[in-house]
């Protein structure tokens, strides 16, 4: 279980870092999205991984830590909001500049 989750996080992070270093906004957006998935999984792992048990304290028996799940929920909401905002911003940048390159072109330095 640990190895599976760790491998998933590793793949997501690797892909996310690679994409967010690309010169186009579209790939950067995808990269950031993948990174946020990786972080959510990492948060889940931070409470210790456990299978076949519900995060409810009333049920007898061992239960997984419910707090990371609450953290993930918040992190998902926030990263979802941020990503959608970034998409809107990127679309505006594309419509204003005619391309989606990340860096400033010549003549864009001065406002």
């Amino acid at each position: 279980m640990e190895i599976l989750v760790a491998a998933a996080i590793a793949v997501l992070v690797a892909a996310g870092v690679y994409l967010s270093l690309r010169p186009r906004l579209f790939s950067v957006l995808l990269g950031i999205t993948l990174l946020s998935y990786a972080v959510n999984l990492f948060l889940l792992a931070s409470g210790g991984l456990m299978v076949d048990s519900a995060p409810l304290t009333q049920v007898p028996g061992p239960y997984p830590d419910p707090l990371p799940q609450a953290l993930i929920l918040t992190a998902i909401v926030i990263s979802f909001g941020m990503t959608s905002f970034l998409i809107v911003l990127a679309m505006r940048a594309v419509s204003e500049r005619g391309h989606d390159r990340v860096e400033r072109g010549s003549g864009e330095e001065a406002e």
Binding site: I32, L35, G48, F85, L86, E108, A110
Partner: protein, 501 residues
């Protein structure tokens, strides 16, 4: 009485939500709500400062959920001080924005208030994840404010800032997860207790989390290897927005202080912070010298002020933190004022805007050059304004340490070079009359609101000098409180009286 701690959050929240409910186009009403909510922060912050000045750390358990489990707001001297600084800068920026920036696009006032909500929350929170949430609140508002009054340059700047800070937020969450899995809590006070009894096999994870947090905060504070996003963004932003942004970097600095003193007293980030601070100073001053626009010069001045601040913070002792607490107020007000004056100059000079080249003539105008002069004096840290005292305190604090010589050399050279760049910029703007644009321009009259915005910041700067004694005593007491985290921990974990009986 203790519910007052919530006011710095509820006021901007209400002030941000109400304008969204009213009909579009009712700008006067939006303005009234925005100004009232922002003005209300000043008496609130003063009351909180006077409450915190007594030395008691006030913990407020939101919804009366006891400390390690619920959301905790903690008011100590540093938090109250930062709330006051934020309130003054926000009022100055908002007054300046009235009638100009707030007509450039919709929802300016709501965004402004949400920005304040995030800033105030980040200063007050006593919980790591809550700090993350407030960071996101202030960042989201800052992206929107940055691209406010759309122009391609601003949109690109907003995209850059958003991407960089989203990566920062990702790292923040990774750090949070590391710390949680090492210690099993996220409350600052609870973490401080648990850190002492950490099993040795968790120590590596714990410290890795701590260092990653420091990296995230350094990114927010725009310290050197991570500060390249700032000049482009602040330089492109609207003047009033940039003035408010000068508080944003200080959120990162205060978070470094808070986490470094309460949660990770053993991490000893001092030497690393010192190197980064010195490098930040060098970069900032180089940027000031090479800036081609007044707004870019002001943006680099923000970097210089962060570097100066972190030189003091890096000591993590009483003298250093006291000097930092005093300087943070001065530096924030000074750079905010420079942004406002630069924005005004850009309007006045028409086509030349705030480019540092020959432009129209300023004959017979005194107010604007005088305002620039005062702002420049404040930014450079010359007497009679408080930057001089702050730098004296910083140099005095480093005097006993091992790196005194290097610090002295860099700080004094940086000061000299910032004087040079500010003087050169001023003489270019006000005295150099261009051949093609030689005509004397009709200056648009100062709007009373804009004048009062600049005047308010100036009054804050003067107040810091006139009341330098009490202000410095307060800063010193704040430093003492920071270095005694036991009181903080006790207040949070036992003091459940804040929950509103």
């Amino acid at each position: 009485m203790s519910h007052l701690v919530l006011a710095p959050l509820l006021l901007p929240l209400a002030g941000g939500l109400l304008p969204l409910l009213i009909r579009r186009g009712a700008l006067p009403l939006e303005r009234a709500i925005g100004v009232l909510a922002t003005l209300g922060l000043v008496p609130t912050a003063i009351a909180l400062v006077s409450q915190a000045a007594g030395g008691e750390v006030l913990a407020y358990a939101v919804g009366q959920w006891p400390a390690p489990f619920g959301i905790t707001l903690v008011l100590d001297r540093l938090a109250a001080w930062m709330l006051l600084v934020t309130a003054v800068v926000a009022n100055g920026a908002l007054l300046f924005a009235l009638g100009r920036s707030d007509t450039a696009g919709r929802h300016f006032h709501s965004l402004f208030q949400f920005q304040l909500l995030g800033i105030n929350g980040a200063f007050l929170t006593g919980d790591l994840f809550n700090l993350f949430v407030f960071f996101e609140v202030l960042l989201l508002a800052s992206y929107a404010l940055l691209s406010h009054g759309s122009s391609p340059a601003r949109t690109v700047a907003a995209v850059h800032v958003a991407v960089v800070n989203l990566l920062g937020s990702t790292l923040f969450l990774v750090a949070t997860a590391c710390i949680y899995s090492a210690a099993g809590s996220l409350n600052f006070a609870d973490l401080a207790v648990r850190a002492a009894a950490l099993p040795p096999d968790r120590l590596g994870l714990w410290q890795a989390g701590g260092w990653m947090l420091m990296v995230v905060f350094a990114l927010k504070a725009a310290m050197l290897p991570l500060g390249f996003w700032l000049p482009g963004a602040y330089g492109a932003a609207d003047g009033a927005v940039a003035a408010l942004f000068s508080v944003l970097t200080k959120v990162g600095v205060v978070s470094i202080i808070r986490v470094g003193t309460v949660v990770f007293p053993d991490l000893d980030p001092g030497p690393v912070v010192w190197f980064a601070a010195i490098a930040t100073l060098v970069l900032g001053v180089t940027g000031m010298l090479s800036a081609s626009r007044l707004s870019h010069l002001a943006a680099h001045a923000v970097i210089v002020s962060v570097g100066m601040l972190m030189v003091a913070v890096a000591l993590f002792d009483r003298a250093g933190l006291a000097a930092a607490t005093y300087y943070v107020a001065h530096g924030t007000l000074a750079t905010a004022m420079l942004f406002l004056v630069a924005a005004r100059i850009a309007v006045v000079r028409g086509e030349t805007a705030d480019l540092l080249e020959a432009g129209p003539e300023f004959r017979g105008r005194v107010a604007l050059p005088a305002a620039y002069l005062l702002a420049a004096i404040a930014v450079a840290g010359l007497p009679p304004l408080g930057g001089f005292l702050a730098k004296l305190a910083i140099l005095d604090a480093v005097l006993d340490g091992g790196r005194a010589a290097a610090t002295f050399a860099v700080v004094l050279t940086a000061t000299l070079l910032s004087i040079v760049s500010l003087a050169r910029a001023g003489s270019t703007v006000f005295w150099k009359v261009g051949p093609a644009r030689g005509e004397t321009v009709e200056l648009p009259a100062w709007r009373p609101a804009a004048v009062s915005g600049v005047a308010l910041l100036l009054a804050g700067l003067v107040g810091l000098v006139v009341y330098a004694g009490p202000a410095y005593e307060y800063a010193d007491a704040a430093a003492g409180q920071l270095l005694d985290p036991g009181r903080y921990v006790d207040a949070v974990l036992q003091g459940r009286s804040g929950g509103g009986q």
